[in-house]
């Protein structure tokens, strides 16, 4: 039972931390823009991925940190707790708030846990499990669909562990992978357009080089666990956008394609993709040249395509992406890991917490008995 509650706590912590890092990223991205690093998309992409990885493994980090504290490797004073920090700030008069309201706010997580202990908790668990099953089934269906597309396609070439395939059933080139091979699938209609074929192939091979397919598969596998968390979708969307912007830039820089030909190719593929009903109806673990959603998210695809083309036309070079990535990673990673420890439930009653509780009790007494005369007051 304890391990189940520990797992649930870890699950809640990951979700809260993801939402927190999403907020931090929004501020961070704006600051990067102000600092003139908005165009450093490759560094930003790597940074986002590292932070996401840190969020996912944060329960392990927290467990190691608490084990290190218990073993005496970390002094108790070095630990940070968000609740304790807020109480300390409150007692020092850094912000004003009703003490009872603050205590309620700090105890919100415990309150929710108590409320969920009964039938409400069971109902929520059922909803979460049902959502997990639904999203896992969607993933399985998309993988089966993908397998069918691959089995209907024809091998064009094999270069080491990369396999190039030609398919009659797809209109948008994409890359994916099996356990042993990385696969690029190109529409057969593209064989009639040499320039487009070269650009699409270069783009998909760059995705393979950047490890985008493996990340897409990992996100697809994590999705059923975090399906209800909007922060996950915001994160994924940001990663997808940076991934495409980074890929476009690298392909043009490496292979020297003409910007006009590249943009023309994107537009043509997008146009062809919209002509036929989408073949990958549910999100499959693939990385496509362009997105062609035509239902609820069509506007988003258009906006992304526009941004990609504008970025390519601007043609601003990204200097030293690895250096920028290294410089930016440290503060953001430290903040994420510190936050993962800080959002843990406070173990003991600190002096500050006892003080806050005393203030709340005194206020309650005052409300019950009327005002208590203090020393020096006229009616004392």
């Amino acid at each position: 039972m304890t391990s189940a509650s520990t797992l649930l706590d870890a699950y809640i912590d990951v979700n809260v931390l993801l939402a927190f890092t999403c907020l931090v990223w929004a501020v961070f991205a704006r600051l990067l823009g102000i600092a003139g690093l908005g165009h450093a998309v490759t560094a930003q992409l790597r940074l986002l991925r590292v932070v996401f990885l840190a969020v996912i493994v944060s329960p392990v980090f927290v467990a190691l940190f608490s084990a290190a504290m218990q073993a005496g490797y970390v002094a108790p004073g070095r630990s940070v707790n968000l609740g304790d920090f807020i109480v300390a700030q409150y007692l020092q008069g850094r912000f004003e708030m009703n003490p009872a309201a603050l205590e309620r706010l700090l105890g919100l997580r415990g309150e929710v846990a108590r409320a969920l202990d009964g039938s409400a908790g069971t109902a929520l668990l059922i909803v979460l499990c049902a959502g997990f099953v639904l999203f896992a089934l969607r993933l399985a269906a998309s993988v089966l669909h993908l397998r069918r597309i691959l089995s209907d396609s024809h091998v064009w070439r094999r270069i080491g562990r990369v396999e190039l395939r030609i398919s009659d059933t797809v209109t948008v080139p994409f890359s994916t992978r099996s356990l042993s091979r990385r696969i690029v699938v190109l529409p057969s209609s593209m064989l009639a357009h040499d320039a487009d074929l070269r650009i699409a192939l270069g783009h998909e091979l760059q995705h393979l080089r950047q490890g985008d397919v493996e990340w897409e598969i990992a996100l697809g596998l994590i999705r059923p666990f975090l399906f209800w968390n909007p922060a996950f979708y915001l994160w994924k969307r940001q990663v997808e956008e940076l991934r495409e912007l980074s890929c476009d830039r690298q392909v043009i820089a490496r292979r020297g394609y003409s910007v006009a030909a590249y943009c023309d190719c994107l537009l043509r593929v997008c146009h062809n993709g919209l002509r036929r009903p989408r073949l990958l109806e549910v999100e499959a673990p693939v990385v496509a040249l362009v997105r062609t959603e035509d239902r609820f998210f069509g506007g988003r695809s258009v906006a992304l395509l526009r941004r990609r083309m504008m970025t390519v036309i601007e043609g601003r070079a990204e200097r030293h992406p690895t250096l920028v990535f290294a410089a930016l990673t440290l503060p953001l990673l430290a903040l994420t890991l510190a936050a993962s420890v800080a959002i843990q439930k406070s173990g003991d009653w600190s002096q500050d917490r006892i003080m806050l509780s005393t203030i709340v009790n005194l206020e309650r007494l005052q409300a019950k008995n009327g005002s208590v005369p203090s020393f020096g007051a006229p009616d004392y």
């Binding site: 064009w156 009659d168 209609s189 064989l191 074929l197």
Partner: protein, 131 residues
């Protein structure tokens, strides 16, 4: 995933290639490439890929002559025309070929000669059936 997959119908590009191959009888990649419209500007590797896929689909066979492959169609143009029309009739005309012919006669603006030819064809077919 097997590399040999039979398909019943050709894509647009494949049909263009097959049309050239039906005209040429047998041909190398270069022959087909030369027979395509000059504006096509198709790379040799792309042309070779298309012919290889046609072979995988079972529409052509190849024999090696020296260093080059010579491709030959495995089905005639007539057979493919019949297959395509049958498919069209089944899918779009509720499996009623007479509806297909009626649409063709109504909309295609056929000349007197063409109509006479069709009439003669139908008469010949009716005579053959009576025998």
């Amino acid at each position: 995933m097997s590399d040999k997959k039979k398909a019943k119908f050709l894509t647009d590009v494949e049909l263009e290639f097959m049309t050239r191959l039906w005209d040429l009888g047998e041909a190398t990649v270069r022959d087909v490439q030369d027979a395509l419209a000059p504006a096509r500007k198709l790379a040799y590797t792309s042309a070779a890929t298309i012919l290889r896929i046609l072979e995988q689909k079972g529409f052509v066979t190849s024999t090696k002559q020296g260093k080059t492959f010579v491709y030959t169609a495995t089905l005639s143009k007539d057979t493919y025309q019949s297959r395509s029309l049958k498919n069209l009739s089944e899918k779009l005309f509720d499996n009623a070929p007479e509806m297909l012919v009626a649409r063709l006669v109504d909309d295609y603006d056929l000349s007197e000669e063409a109509l006479d030819e069709i009439r003669a064809l139908i008469d010949r077919r009716l005579r053959d059936d009576k025998r």
